[in-house]
Symmetry: C2
Subunit: 208 residues, 2 copies
């Protein structure tokens, strides 16, 4: 087809290309952080990885802190969105089968590259003043959202005393399993812990 063929794909509008660039940067930033840690993660390295010019990257994110906190938030939202999307396909509320799948999925949130990236950011923030406040706020937002999602998927009634803390402890355990997976592949042990804790949690949330 000739260059002027009316059948060619229309060029995406400016705004849409800008959004796509932004998304590429955010995703490259998370994988960079997961693989190279905070000290190895700069705007330039991410721009190169995303195939974007350094200038374009800096147009989107003025500072290194902007880029990496936005990246962890973006990917966390995407992962939690995917988790919420499993809801219609879950076994009936109140069944141990459902609790088992939900516990597995929640633990899954903390064992991939996103958790590695977030962990690098948290640990860097504990030493760096200019990062600390932003990462603390980000962690609070992401943590609240994870809690809300867990409550909804487990069909847990937080008006019942102890239920809120049961779900919180589950999320803490999931984070701890993520940590245990940092240096070695902990999947086999993790599966056994998840199986047992799913039974325990089901007994608390759905007493006979």
């Amino acid at each position: 087809m000739g260059a002027l063929s009316p059948a060619r794909e229309p060029k995406p509008p400016q705004q849409e290309r800008s959004r796509a660039t932004r998304r590429k940067l955010l995703e490259a930033a998370v994988s960079c952080l997961a693989e190279r840690g905070w000290s190895g993660s700069t705007v330039s390295v991410v721009a190169e990885r995303a195939g974007v010019s350094r200038g374009a990257a800096q147009h989107h994110f003025r500072t290194r802190e902007d880029l990496f906190t936005a990246a962890v938030e973006h990917v966390a939202e995407k992962r939690q969105g995917a988790l919420k999307a499993v809801a219609p396909n879950l076994p009936p509320a109140g069944s141990v089968a459902r609790t088992r799948i939900v516990v597995e999925e929640i633990v899954g949130l903390y064992t991939g590259p996103l958790f590695r990236a977030a962990l690098h950011l948290w640990v860097a923030a504990s030493d760096e003043e200019q990062l600390r406040e932003r990462v603390t706020a980000l962690e609070a937002r992401v943590g609240r959202e994870a809690h809300r999602t867990a409550v909804a998927l487990l069909d847990a009634d937080e008006a019942v005393p102890g239920v809120r803390e049961t779900v919180q402890g589950l999320l803490d355990m999931a984070r701890g399993l993520g940590l245990a997976n940092l240096l070695t592949d902990d999947a086999a042990r993790r599966d056994r812990v998840v199986e047992q804790w799913a039974k325990i949690i089901d007994g608390v949330l759905n007493p006979e």
Copy 2:
């Protein structure tokens, strides 16, 4: 008293002074790692903090990796020793009061400077080849010992199906609570989670 007075304190023998120097270095290394992270932690910085000459520090620890892995191991052993020492003063085995105290103490292992130091070391090890193998082995040793201590203090019978995984999940939860305490003081929320999960774990370990 004169310099030759027979009543003066005897000078500690060489071996004992050497052990004391080593101990000072190990403790300074953990607090340095907890406060300044891996990138801010070198043998020189630790030697200065411990009031020891750089040469003496290097006599004890040939490399940075030697110093910091030995330090985390030393302090972890000391903490676990202190935890085991509470055993004779615990309420009777099989009581919820005992389970509560033990869960608190175990969670306490993961919320102080030692955990911050260990976390910095783990995260650095996930990026640095020469650190990774040693920290992985160290984590396995310390984790096994923590598990053994938890089983003994909880008087848990690992021959019963699910008990081993219940205790493992508790240690994972403790690690997750440590992580949640990294950027903010999470003590109030943590107390509520510990209270609820102590009840849950007691119900699993000591069914009526």
